[in-house]
Symmetry: C2
Subunit: 348 residues, 2 copies
């Protein structure tokens, strides 16, 4: 059972003490690759997908890139297990929805995961705590090279890597940095972040990528264009913008602490009080309070709480995690009661 | 200084363990009386008011009805002291606004107060904890009889007691019962209370009487008509309606605890958490949370808190009380900070 390994602790990338961790949660890099001579997953039938999956599985296994990782076929996973993997950012919501000859292999540290037959045949993902663009790129790039030496990737000399969706053609690279921007939200300037990002070809998204809502002041910033810019340029563009946003958020935090310290204190303490006392709480409200508490810790308003404890709560209050931990029924009201109880015990 | 006597504890009437105290805060009875041969306060000049005040003062003093009570002239009281008396329901907001030869004398227990040159020459008020219509009437009526034996009250054989406002002519009696109706509010049925009351000539008002807003689910129900019904009838009408409302509120509390216990628990605990953790809080929000906590105690959700402690907070978080206790500046933001600190310390 997949559940057992996830019933305590979160992935290494959600841990504390990452670089620039006051604003940056994690750095994620994914590469989209396809195998030459096979139709893309969305065009191929079950038979062809099975053939591709087999090639990929043996290629990955031979390469020894994730020696301790098991391959999980989507068809073998329960609904809860699939959602569990989405909540841990190990698979995409899209893969979770698919069926037949698709799957994932990931490292026990959860820093690395490889999906098969998602939108593309292969999606390699590296994820690290805080702002670690170089390290994450280094690891992901290395995995890519090892696999490329064993698997015939579809590459055009003119376009670069070929992908299912034209927006990924070229490098097949998406760099995503997950940011915690409570004071940019508080001061109503988050729209400016969107504008500034889009001006340089970057895009700001919610917590679980494309089409998902920002929740609890968490935003993902990533490159939109993969064609016409090489990997180094893309990484540089993202880095430049992320550093700008970090400074922006930090500057505002300083300002607001000078000008309206009590409002920040009030927000952090109320959030903590509500988390410690509420008898039912939905996911969205939980994220909001955890965001305020996280900010309170970073602003040194709240002490002795532990960033790690709070980070784990972000994960364990999500529906699938809650279900695994508490066997909570799928009824939303019951889940909200179970969530509130978990939070109280966690913070006690 | 008036401040000193109010810096700890509230009047006897705000204490715990009054009859039907789960729903009824207090029972108040006031009698409007005027002195024959003098113009009503709103028509009289300073000179005439002074004459009336002198008569009343000596009449009250001679009668020995409030032996330990001192007479406080409104002109001698600071703005804060006047507001302090309003918050303790010892004088009306109207008296607090007036100037020149008006004042109040009240018993140390605060169960009894007599205002001079308010809307009428004389306003006698008795107030007791919980539902105590008979006892409150007995005391107030007795004071009235003693004073009537010494002062020439304006009475018409046809109309009864004559008063400044026609709505008080007749008995000059207003019976007010202060109710805590959180679940009638929660279930959106408070309008029905208004309708039911008005059908029998009663009226539902906010916390500080006429024209004031209901705050924290507290409502005053009182008779509107004083003419054509004698005291016994008025008391009976109020009693009948109050008993009906008590049963109504109690029935709903029971129902809601059966059907949606968690929502009630959630409400009480969140309110307590917010009171214990917030760093600033305005008066209105404070009332709302205190109301939820009071309900939580009555529903046996919250324990070891003490009704008395909570009742005192209702009083001491009001602006003037806060100012006396904390010397808080009149700046609203500063006051909200000071209020939150007081609540935290009180509940610690």
């Amino acid at each position: 059972m997949l559940d057992d390994r996830f019933s305590s602790g979160s992935g290494e990338w959600l841990g504390p003490n990452g670089p620039d961790n006051d604003v940056v949660i994690s750095t994620r890099i994914r590469l989209a690759r396809n195998i030459r001579g096979h139709k893309m997953p969305w065009r191929s039938n079950q038979c062809e997908r099975q053939e591709v999956e087999a090639k990929l599985k043996s290629g990955i296994a031979d390469s020894q890139i994730i020696p301790e990782g098991a391959y999980w076929s989507i068809d073998d996973l329960s609904e809860t297990e699939r959602r569990l993997l989405v909540e841990r950012h190990l698979i995409s919501p899209e893969l979770a929805k698919g069926r037949g000859s698709r799957g994932v292999i990931f490292a026990p540290t959860e820093n690395l995961s490889i999906m098969t037959n998602e939108e593309d045949h292969l999606r390699i993902q590296g994820i690290h705590r805080g702002l670690q663009l170089e390290e994450t790129w280094r690891v992901t790039n290395q995995i890519d090279s090892v696999l490329e030496s064993r698997l015939p990737f579809a590459v055009s000399s003119r376009w670069g890597y070929l992908t299912a969706c034209p927006t990924n053609v070229g490098t097949g690279l998406r760099v995503s940095v997950m940011l915690h921007l409570p004071v940019l939200v508080h001061t109503d300037q988050i729209k400016k972040v969107h504008t500034a990002a889009s001006r340089v070809g970057l895009v700001v998204r919610g917590l679980y990528g494309e089409g998902t809502k920002a929740s609890g002041d968490f935003y993902q910033i990533s490159n939109q264009v993969t064609l016409g810019r090489d990997e180094v340029q893309i990484l540089r563009d993202v880095r430049t913008m992320v550093l700008k946003i970090i400074e922006w958020e930090r500057g505002l935090r300083k300002l607001v602490m000078q000008q309206d310290r009590v409002t920040m204190e009030d927000r952090a303490w109320r959030a903590l009080g509500t988390l410690q006392y509420a008898r039912k709480m939905n996911s969205e409200e939980t994220m909001q309070h955890l965001s305020s508490v996280r900010l309170g810790i970073n602003l040194e308003i709240l002490h002795d709480l532990g960033q790690e404890r709070i980070n784990d709560l972000f994960l364990y209050t999500q529906p699938a995690h809650l279900q695994v931990l508490r066997g909570a029924p799928s009824d939303p009201e019951e889940r909200d009661i179970s969530r509130a109880r978990l939070i109280r015990e966690w913070l006690a």
